[in-house]
């Protein structure tokens, strides 16, 4: 129970700090964030947008790990764990797309401009969307689990390329693109110590939240399957 209270307070603190701490040209107090060229007030999105993108990668990675585990042991519990993680990955991917689009409206003037980063996340949504279409098309449990495990492994190969490589080697509007001369990549942001601390607290908080959501998700799916088998 203690870790749940810590999680609640952690994300509440990140939300309060991330939203209300002012951005100033020369920070003098611990609660002030530095002005980052090219981002301005919009820089505050990193406390919420980057963790959702980070969790997309973590969730799809976990889905792949359990897919490999399923193929090795043929245990349907691993399939449920992989499926739950893929579902969460999809949710966070959609959240990253929406928060990114809202940010783009204020930073670039339009919600969607087919920037390499936007195009790559759209491709990722299509790739993982197909995984759920595949799952719903196969009724035999073992066959569905095996097919989606193989698909999930193949799909994850594209994730590092779409999230980390392609948007950085191509010219674009997103911070960290090949021709970016302002903010740079997230890890190179000109953040001061406090901003960096809140950013990493946000990453930690959201990662714990993902783990809890995944645990609740796979347990509920597992018991649903068990009870269905028991009473039918």
């Amino acid at each position: 129970m203690i870790w749940k209270i810590v999680l609640f307070l952690l994300i509440a603190f990140v939300s309060i700090a991330g939203i209300t701490f002012p951005i100033v040209a020369k920070p003098e107090h611990w609660y002030e964030f530095p002005l980052i060229m090219g981002l301005g007030e919009n820089a505050k999105i990193i406390f919420f947008h980057v963790p959702t993108a980070w969790l997309t990668v973590i969730a799809f990675f976990m889905s792949t790990v359990y897919s490999i585990k399923y193929l090795r042991k043929k245990d349907l519990v691993d399939d449920i764990k992989a499926h739950t993680s893929a579902q969460l990955g999809m949710v966070f991917c959609i959240l990253a797309t929406i928060t990114g689009a809202v940010w783009a409206k204020f930073a670039w003037g339009s919600y969607w401009s087919w920037d390499p980063r936007q195009t790559s996340i759209f491709a990722l949504l299509l790739i993982y969307g197909a995984l759920f279409a595949l799952r719903s098309a196969v009724e035999v449990e073992e066959k569905r689990a095996a097919l989606s495990a193989v698909y999930s492994i193949i799909a994850f190969i594209t994730v590092p390329f779409f999230i980390f490589i392609m948007p950085r080697i191509m010219r674009g509007l997103h911070p960290g693109s090949a021709d970016d001369t302002n903010a740079g990549t997230v890890v190179n942001f000109q953040m001061n110590g406090n901003m960096l601390l809140i950013f990493f607290l946000s990453l930690i908080g959201f990662t714990i939240l993902y783990y809890w959501m995944w645990y609740v998700g796979y347990k509920s799916m597992l018991y649903k399957e068990k009870l269905n088998k028991q009473y039918h």
């Binding site: 749940k4 509440a12 939300s15 939203i19 018991y223």
Partner: protein, 49 residues
């Protein structure tokens, strides 16, 4: 008066809304977690009989 308050404190209103949403998500997860624990106990009780 309300309009003036909202325009001057918009960021705090955003913060309050975000906190309410977070409290809702957290509470929902807590309820689900407890329900799962109860089902887990029931299933274990059934198999133990």
């Amino acid at each position: 008066m309300l309009e003036e308050f909202l325009s001057k404190n918009a960021i705090y209103i955003v913060m309050i809304i975000v906190l309410i949403v977070w409290a809702g998500v957290f509470g929902f997860l807590l309820v689900l977690n407890n329900r799962i624990k109860n089902i887990e106990k029931e299933i274990k009780g059934d198999t133990g009989k």
